[in-house]
Symmetry: C2
Subunit: 156 residues, 2 copies
DNA sequence: GCGCAAATGCTACTATGTTGCAAAACCATC
DNA sequence: GATGGTTTTGCAACATAGTAGCATTTGCGC
């Protein structure tokens, strides 16, 4: 993986350009630098909220990047697998994706019930050292806050 | 709604039988007492975990109750609308339904990552009086704990 | 029982996600 | 730069979850 990184750096230097954050992230996971992966990661990194598969596809299309629906699904799954992105189920049946925070992705999400947006609240760690009934083994906790986001709340 | 309840009681007395909890619950919401609603509610009341649409359909079929897939969807939606049941999105794309706890349904769920079961943890209220960024209006909090349930955890 | 509104059942449709396989792209090596 | 093996992509077909419209049935107030 370090080797990959070095080789990427090498290749890029011969191209006379710097690796983008997205490219570095992908190389660090031992994955190949492909058009789709870089573009998807760029979109996710630029977004301040979780995006559905559909929204990402629209963003790619807007950039003129040709891609297949299936490829996007597989790219997103790969990003989740290697831990770069995280996947979460919303109230609608569409899954949403976002770049994972550093460390174990135990952070809270805020779901706006009016516009449907989902944003990550990084500095918000739920204190779940609660009284879990006997026998249950806790791996991780997921906290979803529902309400109105700033842009929706001000219109009320 | 009180009138509804009285009329139901009246009707049932003439039938020489008591209203079941499910029938009372439905009547209390001003809804008609139908085969499907009573059966669905019975299933939900008897279950100690959230059920998918599919599982409920199987339970109804096991009781020999004929029903349409669409009817079940609409029945479940109605139960959620009137506040008797609650709906939650799992990691798979299937929604799960359960009877709502008394009071505002602010209770935690436990999701077993091995068998996929979802159980309600009634006495578990997350302390979410946390530092929400400015502008956000909090309506309700949803806490989902992930890990292994007693029956899965003991096999490890 | 009678009539009306609510609920059901049917068909068809949309949206989301998956599988298998051949073609193309990536990149390590020469 | 060309080459070759492996990964990734694109395509087509399929699978699952949920929705819409409308005619028929059913609960229930009278």
């Amino acid at each position: 993986m370090l080797q990959n990184h070095l080789q990427l750096t090498c290749k890029l230097m011969s191209d006379h350009r710097q690796p983008t954050p997205a490219e570095s992230l992908i190389a660090a996971q031992g994955g190949r630098i492909t058009r789709t992966r870089v573009a998807v990661l760029d979109v996710l990194l630029a977004a301040d909220q979780s995006l559905t598969h559909d929204e990402i596809a629209a963003a790619l299309a807007a950039q003129g990047i040709k891609h297949d629906r299936v490829t996007l699904y597989r790219t997103l799954d790969w990003l989740v697998d290697v831990g770069v992105a995280h996947k979460m189920a919303g109230d609608d049946r569409a899954r949403r994706f976002g770049v994972a925070a550093s460390g174990p992705h135990e952070h809270a999400h805020f779901h706006c019930d009016r516009c449907g947006k989902v944003v990550c609240l990084e500095g918000l760690q739920p204190a779940v050292a609660v009284n879990l009934p006997g026998g249950y083994q806790l791996d991780r906790a997921e906290l979803v806050l529902h309400g109105a986001c700033p842009s929706c709340g001000k219109d009320v």
